[in-house]
């Protein structure tokens, strides 16, 4: 048997042993889209004991982006001569007036990029067009945006700008725990007993960054990799902490996660960005939870370049994405899930993103042809019957 399978069996056994000692069910939360998908892909949920639950939190970059920011990015396609460069996940997210994909099918120039530097190269190659990088994401993707902006400045490009909606993980985790962020649809997060912390983000922010979560909430945190056995180990280590007086931070990804994180990436971030209060889907405004371009880079801010005023935020009618990403409801509890809202006809971002909780449920958990969330004998909602308030 391969070594990792042996490890998986060992940690599954430890998880089951620890779970057998629990007085009440334990609920943990992962806050990373890659964890969400990895758990579903390896069937982790089907293996965990009944009294241990792993919820998906605000870890999918597209899903946590406020609707106003998404509307704004899509509206940019209407700017004359603009080329919008986006990561693939943003392409199909519905906004007030369709999606980037729809805009592209109507003739807008929307290009899917894999590296932010491709957008800079494109700007250098097409001086008569305005290239706008639509960038969402956490600490993992923000350095790439910073590098692109810095390079554009170094090249003296005047036709490159970024529409950013970068977010920071720790303030969101604290916001969830505080339950005081007061967003329109979600407010606080679900009651949880520990965090399975994201390996990739931790590489950048470092393991010390989680200390406030332990200090303020005595909440167990385990930094985990993404392999099936690593996630199993993470859950076992979290479950073993339940009932202990003092919560611990465990760095189970020490090969790549250091206490201080990636100082080079941080230097890049602090050179280009500053922290700001930003809007999150389902959680409202959270202080110091986002990154915005510093004044020194104002020329590369698409909002300023195109003289745009921030759009009003809004909720997507019956869509419960805001509640899903805070762990308050499961996708199956949303009336639209699998009926009006499917990967082909998505209503909320959690169904669009390849890292979204709703898409993971739809793809890996929901047998095709079934419509969970509907009462037998009633007619399921269809897409055209859904009202989306503007």
């Amino acid at each position: 048997m391969a070594e990792h399978l042996k490890q998986a069996q060992i940690w599954l056994e430890r998880l089951r042993t620890a779970a057998a000692k629990l007085d009440k069910p334990a609920v943990f939360m992962e806050v990373c889209g890659t964890h969400t998908m990895s758990a579903f892909r390896c069937g982790l949920h089907s293996l965990t004991p009944d009294n241990v639950k792993l919820l998906s939190g605000p870890g999918c970059p597209v899903c946590v982006t406020a609707q106003s920011d998404i509307d704004q990015m899509i509206a940019l396609t209407q700017e004359r001569d603009a080329i919008i460069c986006t990561y693939g996940d943003m392409l199909r997210v519905p906004g007030k007036h369709g999606s980037l994909e729809k805009a592209r099918s109507q003739g807008a120039n929307v290009q899917v990029i894999y590296s932010t530097l491709d957008a800079v190269k494109l700007a250098a190659k097409t001086p008569d067009r305005q290239v706008v990088l639509a960038a969402v994401g956490f600490e993992t993707t923000a350095p790439a945006t910073a590098a692109a902006v810095k390079q554009a400045k170094a090249l003296g490009l005047t036709n490159f700008s970024a529409m950013t909606s970068h977010k920071l993980v720790i303030p969101a985790m604290l916001g969830l725990l505080a339950g005081a962020s007061g967003g329109a649809s979600g407010g606080g997060g679900a009651k949880i007993d520990g965090f399975l912390c994201p390996g990739h983000v931790s590489v950048i922010i470092g393991s010390d960054a989680y200390q406030p979560i332990l200090d303020q909430y005595n909440m167990p945190c385990v930094i985990s990799g993404f392999e099936d056995w690593q996630m199993t180990r993470g859950l076992a280590r979290l479950t073993e902490q339940i009932g202990k007086e003092k919560a611990c931070l465990v760095n189970d990804y020490p090969q790549v996660v250091t206490p201080a994180g990636n100082t080079h990436a941080w230097a890049l971030l602090t050179e280009v960005f500053e922290t700001a209060t930003v809007r999150w889907r389902g959680m409202g405004e959270i202080p110091d939870s986002g990154l915005i371009l510093q004044d020194a880079y104002a020329d590369y801010c698409a909002m300023r370049k195109f003289n745009l005023t921030p759009m009003p935020d809004r909720e997507l009618g019956q869509c419960l994405c805001g509640q899903v990403i805070t762990g308050n409801v499961t996708p199956a509890e949303c009336e639209l899930f699998g009926t009006a809202c499917t990967p082909i006809n998505p209503i909320g971002p959690c169904m669009v993103s390849a890292e979204g909780t709703c898409q993971a449920w739809f793809k890996y958990k929901r047998p095709p042809g079934t419509t969970p969330g509907t009462t037998p004998g009633t007619t399921p909602l269809t897409h055209d019957k859904v009202e989306v308030s503007a």
């Binding site: 399978l5 998986a8 069996q9 599954l12 990373c32 889209g33 892909r41 390896c42 069937g43 982790l44 949920h45 089907s46 293996l47 870890g59 970059p61 597209v62 990561y87 693939g88 996940d89 392409l91 199909r92 519905p94 007030k96 369709g98 994909e101 729809k102 099918s105 899917v112 894999y114 590296s115 994401g137 993992t140 993707t141 990739h200 099936d228 056995w229 199993t232 990967p343 082909i344 006809n345 998505p346 209503i347 390849a354 890292e355 739809f362 793809k363 890996y364 958990k365 929901r366 047998p367 095709p368 042809g369 269809t382 897409h383 055209d384 859904v386 009202e387 989306v388 308030s389 503007a390």
Partner: protein
């Protein structure tokens, strides 16, 4: 202010999006809602890889629009021949001839065209078939597009098809998955990345003919092109109405493919192949089929990847390496990389 978002505002809008051509659920939707209602007939409706005419003649057609037109291990010419030969072969047909339509763009290099034509001839030679008729057009644009149609002869006494599939049948594949799709994705999106990956595009007709001749228990075949093994397995479950369980431990995936898939946020199960056939055989014929496939150079890493079970639910599941279970669904369409 309330604003009603209607169905026409979403993807059922009056326009085609790229994902409609991805071979996933969205392609299915287009075929079911737009094409079949207008063009459907008893030969077309089953939507098999090839149409069966007169009981013994198989006919198929495919267009190739791959970009870049050249990638490690092959090019659009090789693809155009292999794809059409394989569509005939998995229908149980012996290919007779291929028709070739070239749509070239103004400015395309003559030397590049020679390269494509040479690889068409090389692939046709491997398959033992000739290009027997053709057409050439030139339009403005970039690159080139190729359409190939093929006809083949079927043994009318040999029944192949999803209606023959029964509970207990085993599912086999002739080698590692995901190579073609990831090779093209890397060549297109990350040309600076050095990789050992190359396309698996190959004509499978010889392997399939030998298998058919040696193993009478073969009851269904399909080449795992767009939507990959996941696409074939989910179609098999849906069309047979039975339950399909894929066994992750049995699915061959090369480490280079796994790494590239991880980097792009893709699941190799859903990635296109151009030289892989999924074969469903009776349980007592599985070992013989496996041995027969492994004798052929294109089947040395053949493997049993799953089975059909008796539950009549039309669902495909994956039994994961660590012993978990999860649903397998046909991909939606355009494969999107992750952003975190």
């Amino acid at each position: 202010m309330m604003n009603t978002q209607t169905k026409t505002d979403s993807l059922n809008l009056g326009r085609i999006v790229l994902a409609h051509g991805g071979g996933g659920q969205l392609t299915d939707e287009l075929i079911q809602n737009l094409i079949l209602p207008r063009l459907g007939n008893s030969t077309l409706d089953p939507l098999d890889d090839a149409a069966i005419l007169n009981g013994n003649l198989a006919m198929t057609i495919d267009s190739y629009v791959v970009e870049p037109w050249k990638f490690p291990g092959g090019d659009i010419g090789r693809l155009a021949v292999c794809g059409t030969v394989n569509d005939l072969a998995v229908s149980g047909a012996k290919p007779l001839g291929i028709a070739l339509s070239l749509i070239l763009t103004e400015g395309f290099g003559r030397v590049d065209l020679q390269t494509v034509l040479d690889s068409i001839q090389t692939a046709a030679g491997e398959a033992g078939i000739d290009i027997v008729t053709g057409d050439t057009k030139v339009v403005s644009g970039e690159g080139l597009y190729i359409t190939t149609a093929g006809v083949g002869l079927i043994d009318p006494n040999r029944k192949l098809g999803v209606t023959n599939v029964k509970p207990g049948d085993k599912i086999l594949i002739n080698g590692p998955i995901g190579e073609h799709g990831l090779t093209v994705m890397l060549a297109r999106e990350m040309p600076e990345v050095q990789s050992v990956l190359k396309t698996d595009a190959a004509p499978l007709n010889h392997l399939i003919e030998k298998l058919m001749a040696a193993v009478p228990g073969v009851c269904f075949m399909r080449d795992a092109t767009r939507s990959g093994l996941a696409g074939v397995a989910t179609d098999l479950a849906k069309d047979s109405g039975l339950h399909v369980v894929l066994d992750e431990a049995g699915i061959p995936v090369d480490s280079a493919v796994q790494h590239a898939a991880d980097m792009l946020g893709l699941d190799p199960l859903e990635v296109a192949n151009e030289g892989k056939v999924v074969v469903v055989v009776r349980p007592d014929a599985a070992d013989a089929a496996l041995a027969q496939m492994r004798e052929h150079p294109l089947g040395q890493q053949a493997s049993i990847v799953g089975e059909v079970t008796g539950q009549a639910d039309g669902i495909c599941e994956l039994a994961t390496l660590i012993g978990g279970r999860r649903i397998v669904q046909k991909p939606y369409g355009e494969q999107l990389p992750r952003i975190c």
